[in-house]
């Protein structure tokens, strides 16, 4: 063999080994201790403005009366791994020095990759290791945590003079309910998840594109996007056109559809108006066998997941998935967001993170061009009672609290529960929580009256502008969340019974099978139905039915 060939092969092998070997992921395996990073006013802040506004929030927040006995103590917080400036984990690092300043105590932060988060936490409890005193919890884990008696109620602290006071009445009821189980509070206020529709305000309001749309489609562009059918039409129109002027075809919509990429949350938000219909008497939010239900028949626990409404919604999702980059069938959350933030797609529907990331100049090219609205509806929802699709003159609009709404819960086995609760309450105080909301990088999404603009709330545009927002973007973004939480007539139920994560896991797989064309939408949802039936029978139908009825407020 030619010597040069051998040399070349060797070099390729060496280089590829170096390349592969040197790029191991940097997951945090153990607690991350305080680092000697430079600080401004005691905060590991990126800018002086950030530090000043945080200091103002710190000064304004209620601090209770920290117990001197806490000095020198420490507890441990488990949170999903996003780093020191990442979503949800970032604020824990940011406020740590100030917590020490207040109490003389500190905490370790254990970052766990999202894919392993639940199993690590569940294993910690089942093996009686009890490493974590506070868990930044996903709301759909409550069923398991309560059933296994892993977390403790926090009501006893509410009137304790040592503890900071936080405003429970200010939280959007849909999210506040996620922090409670039965009569008791278990979680403190933090994040408020819901999906809304984001769009490029500059493009959709451009008369040039509106005229072209009319010319091609024979009607005005439905810029209000009240229905998913309107969204689909707009996505299809813009897909593969060079609307951003970079000389390359661009995308209509971006979605994250990879298994494990949280794509099932997309379907959850999209499908709600196709399935959830209001009670025709008063109040419209009353839960009956056929109204305001999405997951199961509240009398038999039979899954509704393969109803014709769900199937039509999945057909819509598949149609939408063809109005964007073909690669998005393999995208996770970050890739879908990046596509929109880098100005390559006109639409995305996702959590509040997109609204705040759009203002971050290091990640976004669309600051000042962002539009947002609540999740669209449909004029043809499926009536579970009449077993037929309806034809409505106005769209059926359904609010959602899709996602985790990450918030701290207190382990029943916490070594220093009072100290740990002090931290939870202090972070939930309105000035600090609101600061976390309007500083987009924290990943804390809006959901309280102090996040909304008047008349729904008491926030000001200036606060958001101080956080780096363009005024019009903030109006649109916060307006979409306010609509979702307060102005939509009915709401999709949140599922958090025991076994929920397992149900989500199989659902995720079957949705992926449908969007990648392996099976039909009906077949995918039939498979989900069968798997859910098995899970329900395995855990115990009667037990789950009772919990489900309680969780959605169903009474005969």
């Amino acid at each position: 063999m030619d010597k040069r060939v051998v040399t070349l092969v060797g070099l390729i092998a060496l280089l590829s080994t170096m390349w592969f070997g040197g790029a191991a992921p940097t997951h945090q395996a153990g607690p991350v201790r305080a680092t000697a990073a430079p600080t401004i006013l005691g905060f590991p802040a990126a800018t002086e403005l950030e530090a000043k506004t945080a200091q103002a929030a710190f000064n304004a927040a209620d601090k209770g009366k920290p117990d001197p006995a806490w000095k020198g103590k420490k507890f441990t917080i488990a949170v999903y791994s996003a780093g020191q400036r990442g979503a949800i984990s970032g604020p824990l690092y940011f406020w740590r020095n100030k917590f020490t300043e207040l109490t003389g105590a500190t905490y370790d932060i254990v970052e766990i990759p999202f894919a392993e988060l639940r199993e690590k936490i569940y294993s910690d409890f089942t093996t009686s290791a009890y490493k974590y005193d506070v868990i930044i919890n996903c709301s759909n884990w409550y069923g398991d945590a309560i059933a296994n008696d892993w977390i403790q109620p926090i009501d006893k602290y509410f009137n304790e003079p040592r503890m900071p006071k936080w405003d429970r009445a200010s939280i959007a009821p849909a999210v506040a309910n996620l922090m409670k189980w039965g009569e008791h509070w278990y979680g403190t206020n933090n994040d408020h998840d819901a999906q809304v529709l984001y769009y490029r305000r500059d493009i959709l309001s451009d008369p040039k594109w509106q005229a072209q749309f009319k010319q091609e489609m024979g009607r005005d562009m439905p810029v209000a996007m009240d229905t998913w059918e309107d969204v689909l039409e707009i996505a299809k129109f813009f897909n593969r056109k060079d609307w951003n002027g970079d000389g390359k075809p661009d995308n209509g919509i971006s979605l994250h559809l990879k298994v494990g990429g949280q794509g099932f949350f997309h379907f959850m938000a999209l499908s709600a108006p196709y399935v959830v219909t209001p009670y025709l008497g008063q109040p419209p939010t009353k839960v009956t066998k056929y109204h305001n239900v999405y997951w199961f028949d509240p009398e038999t626990m039979e899954p509704l997941i393969n109803s014709p409404g769900h199937v039509r919604a999945l057909e819509t999702l598949i149609a939408l998935s063809k109005a964007g980059s073909p690669a998005m069938w393999g995208w996770s959350l970050g890739e879908a967001w990046a596509d929109f933030l880098s100005g390559k797609s006109v639409l995305v529907f996702s959590w509040g993170d997109v609204g705040s990331l759009a203002e971050d100049p290091t990640q976004s090219k669309i600051a000042g061009k962002l539009g947002a609205r609540g999740i669209p509806g449909t004029k043809q929802p499926y009536d579970l009672e009449k077993k037929q699709f309806l034809n409505l003159s106005k769209p059926n609009m359904v609010g959602n609290q899709v996602g985790c709404s990450w918030h701290p819960v207190l382990s029943k086995f916490a070594k220093n529960p009072d100290l740990a609760y002090y931290f939870m309450a202090w972070q939930a105080t309105p000035p600090i929580n609101h600061w976390n909301v309007y500083m987009g990088w924290t990943g804390v999404d809006p959901g309280t009256t102090y996040d909304w603009f008047p008349p729904a709330g008491k926030a000001t545009i200036d606060e958001y502008v101080a956080g780096g927002y363009k005024a019009d973007d903030a109006k649109s973004f916060i307006g979409a969340f306010t609509d979702n939480f307060y102005r939509y007539p009915i709401f999709q139920n949140y599922i958090r019974i025991p076994g929920t994560p397992e149900m989500m896991e199989v659902w995720d797989v079957h949705l992926s099978e449908a969007v990648t064309g392996q099976v039909s939408p009906k077949e995918a949802l039939d498979r989900t139905y069968q798997d859910w039936q098995k899970i329900i029978d395995n855990i115990g139908r009667a037990k789950l039915l009772k919990l489900y009825q309680q969780s959605i407020g169903y009474t005969k």
Binding site: K3, A24, Y122, A327, G330, E502, E505, T516
Partner: protein, 290 residues
């Protein structure tokens, strides 16, 4: 005499930690999981004896069959490619060359990379928009390069190729050692009879190398049957469940969904499959030696 007896006894004392270690960390989990496999044992629930219920359930579980078929594909393709490529490279380097040590060391480096890291690297290399593979294919004029993460067979191929990249070097190393131990005299004698390289390879090298080839193959088979890390980090088992290998499925059932009874049954089925394959190969190996 008494001192001798004491000395004899004390050696058992030093063996006790090892025995305890094996009992606690190997034998006990093995027996406990065997017991669990006959129970309905879920997180937060009382355990109920169900006899062979978990095993019967596996055979009517379409995800069991799906993961098994994916694993068979992975095993066949990955083991064949790694052994063949390893053999080819071993033959290539089984002669004096300048810089041979350097190349040998370089080829071996991938073995030391953690498979989970390889999976994440695979994610970037096979990324459909900006990954090196599709960028190269586009440069070569391929208009629609494969959708490595959303097309069923492309995804399966992608995880297999990453595994092949890592383990070819292991096969190369072992087979090269085997080749270098073959007696030179046989080759010298054979060269007097024939000038056909293929003939020498076919009738001398291959039969003499067969025991090493069998060993490499069985080690690779056992390794690939257990594959989890690469599909876990690279495709999350998708699209759908198209790259959800058997061990991945056991992991999901046991550690994600905490259905310990069913997961134990699935793990024992895999153990039986491995025992069957291993005994088949060892019987063949014994026949070769005999």
């Amino acid at each position: 005499m008494k001192a001798m007896a004491h000395k004899e006894q004390i050696k058992f004392f030093f063996v006790i930690p090892g025995i305890l270690w094996v009992l606690i960390f190997t034998i006990f989990p093995l027996l406990y999981s065997l017991r669990l496999s006959f129970f309905q044992a879920r997180l937060g629930q009382d355990q109920t004896f169900i006899g062979m219920g978990n095993f019967q359930g596996a055979f009517s579980d379409y995800r069991f069959w799906n993961s098994l078929s994916i694993t068979v594909f992975f095993v066949v393709v990955s083991v064949s490619l790694t052994v063949l490529l390893g053999l080819g490279l071993a033959l290539l380097f089984n002669r004096p060359r300048r810089g041979l040590r350097f190349f040998r060391s370089s080829f071996v480096l991938p073995i030391f990379t953690a498979p989970i890291a390889l999976g994440y690297l695979g994610l970037t290399i096979f990324h459909e928009d900006v990954g090196a593979v599709n960028v190269a294919l586009r440069m070569l004029g391929v208009v629609n390069p494969p959708g490595w993460f959303h097309q069923v067979w492309a995804a399966r191929l992608a995880i297999t190729l990453v595994d092949v990249w890592q383990w070819t070097s292991f096969c190369f190393l072992v087979l090269l050692a085997g080749l270098q131990n073959l007696p030179e005299e046989l080759y010298e004698a054979a060269q007097l009879d024939t000038s056909s390289g293929w003939g020498i390879f076919r009738h001398i090298t291959l039969p003499l190398l067969a025991p090493v080839l069998f060993t490499v193959t069985i080690l690779r088979l056992v390794e690939t049957l257990k594959v989890l890390d690469i599909p876990f980090s690279m495709t999350s088992g998708g699209p759908g469940a198209a790259t959800q290998t058997y061990s991945f499925y056991v992991y999901l059932v046991g550690l994600r969904n905490f259905n310990a009874g069913y997961a134990s049954a699935l793990a024992y089925i895999l153990l039986l499959i491995m025992l069957f394959i291993s005994s088949f190969f060892f019987n063949r190996l014994r026949a070769i030696y005999d």
